[in-house]
């Protein structure tokens, strides 16, 4: 049975890393002693080791040890044997490129579909959608494909940001960008505001956290979705 937490962000403003999620994660990973961390997205370009140390520190608060996938000789076997998996945020283009290059996409898909509990934040949440086509990140490397893991049958836009009505900047708003996406792609896009996450339990998908999410469907007006809404049939 699938079991995922798909979070908009790892960190809230004025919070520390993963803090707001730890009570949820203590339950989500209750049977996990050792967590496998995928640091491929490298936020700010930090190394796999530095990133893994940061994650290790956060999970030590709920008595879970952490090992980075880069510390294993065979990453495919590491995923297959993992008790739980966390993919952290950073740059989605880099993350997806590395997942393909390390040839772990299929292993990751199989493990999570077979019930290995999974946590994604930001870029690690983006890859839970059908494609990475609604990432906010800069295309710093060229991935072999934009296709991602499809643990949910729609796309995720993490760090969803409402238009700033006072802005004088002429770059596109997030909503305009997602509207452009829908000229070329049919799947719904769920804009997850910082502090929101999806809980996937088998075939049930629930919006968690205190905030509404914003749902974009092709050729329809965007819709505000309340916390605790059931999104199981969204596709």
């Amino acid at each position: 049975m699938k079991k995922l937490i798909i979070a908009s962000t790892s960190t809230l403003h004025n919070g520390s890393y993963l803090d707001y999620l730890l009570p949820t994660l203590a339950i989500h990973f209750e049977n996990v002693k050792n967590l496998l961390f995928i640091p491929y997205a490298r936020p700010g370009g930090i190394s796999h080791d530095t990133y893994t140390d940061k994650v290790r520190e956060a999970f030590s608060k709920i008595n879970i040890t952490v090992k980075g996938i880069h510390e294993y000789e065979n990453p495919i076997e590491a995923i297959a044997a993992a008790e739980g998996i966390f993919t952290g945020g950073g740059n989605t283009f880099l993350l997806v490129t590395q997942l393909y290059q390390a040839k772990v996409i299929d292993a990751l898909e199989a493990a999570v579909k077979n019930g290995t509990p999974y946590l994604g934040t930001s870029a690690g949440s983006n890859i839970c959608g059908l494609t990475m086509g609604t990432t906010n990140d800069m295309p710093i490397v060229y991935p072999p494909s934009f296709k991602t893991l499809g643990f949910v049958s729609f796309n995720i836009n993490p760090h969803y940001l409402d238009p700033d009505v006072n802005s004088t900047h002429m770059g596109e708003t997030r909503e305009t960008r997602i509207n452009e996406f829908h000229h070329f792609n049919p799947q719904p896009v769920l804009g997850l505001r910082e502090g929101s996450w999806l809980e996937v339990s088998g075939n049930t998908i629930t919006l968690k956290g205190a905030l509404h999410a914003r749902l974009f469907r092709q050729n329809q007006e965007p819709e505000e979705i309340a916390p605790e809404s059931d999104l199981s049939n969204l596709k």
Copy 2:
């Protein structure tokens, strides 16, 4: 002799389309009666026809007629025969995909290197750099490559936006994104603020407009570049 205007944006806040650039364009295109417009980037998903009409209206103010590349049976011949070329803004992923699919990349490179005067705004400026790897756009389609035209030997970041010190949003700042780019790519990145443009005349590159630009080089502190600075040797 190369002759380009590479602009951060088509439109300033409270301005109308291309207005602030028209005096410059009247000189830049002084020998052009008919301008070839490349509408492939489709801002907001608008059609090639609608986009071309908008450009036609702006250029009518300086007595230049406009025809869209999509109105020609053979786009490669249209580029080779053009008196002047304008590539408008929108989505860079879509623009680059269409340029490759229409097989006009080589023709565009040849025409501009042979002296056909060129204007780019936003996405149309992004493609003047070595790669599209510093676009701000959402990856709504998958291009065959991120390599672009290299009319300048660095990358462009149009609509450059300074960090908002009051923001509580945890998404990456533009500067953080460009820093991540430099972990994997060596070329300098020029952040062009809205209202700035580059004037390329043969081998001379000059920063124009009233604002400073922000220059990012690998492993160096970012640098503010004053208007009228000579960027000919930047690479």
